[in-house]
């Protein structure tokens, strides 16, 4: 079953001609045929196109191409439906884009293709990446492979579920307030949000431009390092990408973390933390001590203000970014007597409830008379939250937290109470506000039902090497990442 293997395992088998890229894609397609009717991770995929890309990779391998030059040669990578792939559909989980076909490739897609990857499929998501459960997709729920009555997390729920269900080897998602790390935690895979500016956002449909980053979902930490090395780097098409050299992230995975300092924030020991999540966290702390890391208590005093700050800044930016969906140059247009009526009707018919709610909130906090009280104040609190982390990182190399307060919740459980849904992002949101990096890794399971628990490591700006090293050392000393959902057996 090639679809169950990792990028690094498949690379070895391809390099020794033991298998072909076509066999890998066929294995993924067969798995999609078996399980995606229940999971619904994919909105669409083009099997013929994927096989043609695989054949081209096999030809290149036969002609002597190596993975030293093209690290992802012959390996299929699934794409969240918010990243532009030329000539493929792009809907952002929304009805408003109609039958939009991308006229160009996002920079990360160009980088994947240059690295030889097979760019494959459109993965389900909360509409315009707004949500924590993938229930806000206009095209139906994605189910958690560990329990199909539960949500996979969000907004990149399809990207997480596809990896967890072995439908794809690795995928890309986007993270604005936890949309990679939270679904990775709830589905039991690895998800990494890079430092703001590490990865180009060109071709990523903007939700909140000062918070959005693209990142990988993988089956293990090594694969996350491999994929991050491919997609990182400055891009002239994104003026917020940073001119900083891209290391070979997998070179840092030595297993030796002796002397590294790991912070525990006392503000993260909150009341709403599930008992089993809390126990997994304590076990992880012990494990890290055993591996030679030094545990240091730290304080992030403005933690309690992060969710409120986020929902002002993110909705304000979203209300401006989503103004472009007006029915003039693209979109499923609803006609009106004048342009104003056309805009209002097109947007009223095309956007779903959560997107409308956030546009209203974002427009309100930016509107005349409220800007200073809400938006400007939130930007100032953002400074305090960022400063909390910069202060902490003078004492520690990374911060260890649970990724989410609970394991995956039931579909429908929080849909009527947006504020409760927002509060489930409490551990992931500060990372985006501060612009730092974070990774979620499997850290255990709840007992009954058996559901994954995620651990999060937060690192300094451009501290990806350190969090990957710490994540890898934990992973190889524990068994969690090797477990597979019961429905797959």
């Amino acid at each position: 079953m090639l679809n169950q293997l990792t990028l690094s395992q498949l690379t070895q088998k391809l390099a020794s001609s033991e298998i072909s890229a076509r066999q890998i894609v066929e294995s993924c397609l067969a798995q999609i045929g078996r399980v995606d009717g229940k999971i619904h991770a994919f909105l669409s995929y083009n099997a013929e196109d994927a096989l043609a890309q695989a054949d081209a990779a096999d030809k290149a391998l036969a002609a002597g191409a190596t993975h030293a030059e093209k690290p992802l040669l012959g390996l299929p990578i699934g794409i969240k439906d918010v990243i532009a792939v030329k000539d493929q559909p792009l809907q952002c989980g929304s009805k408003i884009l109609g039958n939009f076909i991308s006229p160009y490739n996002a920079t990360v897609i160009e980088k994947l293709k240059n690295a030889g990857a097979i760019v494959f499929g459109r993965l389900n998501m909360d509409e315009f990446a707004m949500g924590s459960s993938t229930e806000n997709s206009a095209f139906g729920l994605t189910r958690n492979p560990w329990d199909i009555t539960r949500i996979p997390g969000g907004s990149s729920g399809g990207s997480a579920a596809a990896v967890a269900a072995d439908e794809c080897i690795a995928t890309l998602g986007s993270d604005t307030g936890g949309s990679i790390r939270q679904p990775a935690a709830l589905c039991g895979c690895v998800g990494l949000k890079p430092t703001y500016g590490r990865v180009s956002r060109y071709g990523l449909v903007a939700f909140a431009s000062s918070l959005d980053q693209i990142g990988p979902f993988t089956k293990d930490v090594r694969d996350a390092a491999i994929l991050l090395s491919v997609i990182s780097g400055q891009d002239t098409a994104d003026s917020t990408s940073i001119p900083q050299a891209v290391p070979d992230y997998s070179a840092t995975l030595t297993g030796d973390i002796k002397g590294l300092k790991l912070g525990l924030a006392k503000e993260y020991m909150i009341g709403g933390l599930d008992r089993e999540v809390s126990a997994a966290m304590q076990a992880a702390v012990k494990q890290y001590e055993k591996l030679g890391a030094e545990i240091v208590e730290i304080s992030l005093p403005h933690t309690d203000y992060a969710v409120a700050t986020y929902y002002i800044i993110a909705t304000a930016e979203a209300s401006a970014n989503l103004a472009r969906f007006d029915g003039i140059r693209y979109c499923a247009r609803v006609d009106g007597a004048d342009p104003l009526e056309l805009y209002s009707k097109t947007r009223g018919a095309g956007f779903g409830p959560e997107v409308k709610r956030r546009i209203i909130l974002g427009t309100y906090v930016l509107s005349s008379g409220y800007y200073d009280a809400y938006y400007l104040r939130a930007q100032k609190v953002r400074t305090l939250i960022r400063q909390d982390f910069l202060n902490a990182f003078e004492k520690v190399d990374a911060v260890l937290t649970p990724t989410t307060p609970t394991a995956a919740f039931k579909a429908g459980e929080k849909t009527d109470d947006p504020l409760q849904m927002y509060l489930s992002d409490i551990f992931t949101i500060s990372c985006n506000l501060a612009g730092i990096c974070g990774i979620s890794i499997p850290g255990g399971f709840t007992q009954s039902p058996k559901l994954p628990i995620g651990l999060q490591l937060l690192g300094k700006p451009f501290g990806e090497e350190t969090i990957l090293k710490l994540a890898h050392a934990y992973e190889r000393s524990t068994v969690w990442h090797g477990e597979r959902p019961g429905m797959l057996n």
């Binding site: 109609g98 939009f100 076909i101 006229p103 160009y104 703001y196 500016g197 000062s210 003026s239 917020t240 940073i242 403005h302 309690d304 203000y305 409120a308 929902y311 002002i312 209300s319 103004a323 007006d326 029915g327 003039i328 140059r329 693209y330 499923a332 247009r333 006609d335 007597a337 004048d338 342009p339 104003l340 056309l342 805009y343 209002s344 947007r347 009223g348 409308k356 709610r357 209203i360 909130l361 427009t363 309100y364 509107s367 009280a373 400007l376 104040r377 930007q379 100032k380 609190v381 953002r382 400074t383 305090l384 960022r386 947006p418 504020l419 927002y422 506000l433 501060a434 612009g435 700006p461």
Partner: protein, 102 residues
């Protein structure tokens, strides 16, 4: 009035007016539902006024980059055909829109 006291109390949001600003048509049901939910969210957001931020600089985004320029030279762009590919209504390589001026 000091900044500490300028925070608006969570009053009823005029959803109809804000939706007009956002060029977003809502049904009466949506107006009512969003009004109640947003009032609830704004009530939660009130906690930000506990902090004194008078001496704090705002953060627009977390990266210390300013004024990133590129050289002012021509470079390839997408073709007219590609740009028009997803147009809901088009003619002669242009987007068709409702009449704006009488």
């Amino acid at each position: 009035m000091g900044e500490l006291y300028s925070f608006a109390m969570p009053t009823d949001v005029d959803v109809k007016y804000v939706a007009h600003l956002a060029r977003l048509e809502l049904t009466p049901d949506e107006e009512e539902k969003f009004g109640a939910q947003i009032k609830n969210i704004l009530g939660y957001i009130e906690k930000l006024k506990e902090l004194d931020v008078t001496q704090i600089e705002p953060t627009a985004h977390a990266v210390p980059l300013v004024n990133v320029f590129r050289h002012d030279v021509c470079r390839p762009s997408i073709s007219n055909e590609d740009a028009m590919r997803n147009a809901p209504a088009k003619a002669n390589g242009l987007f068709v829109v409702p009449k704006i001026v009488e």
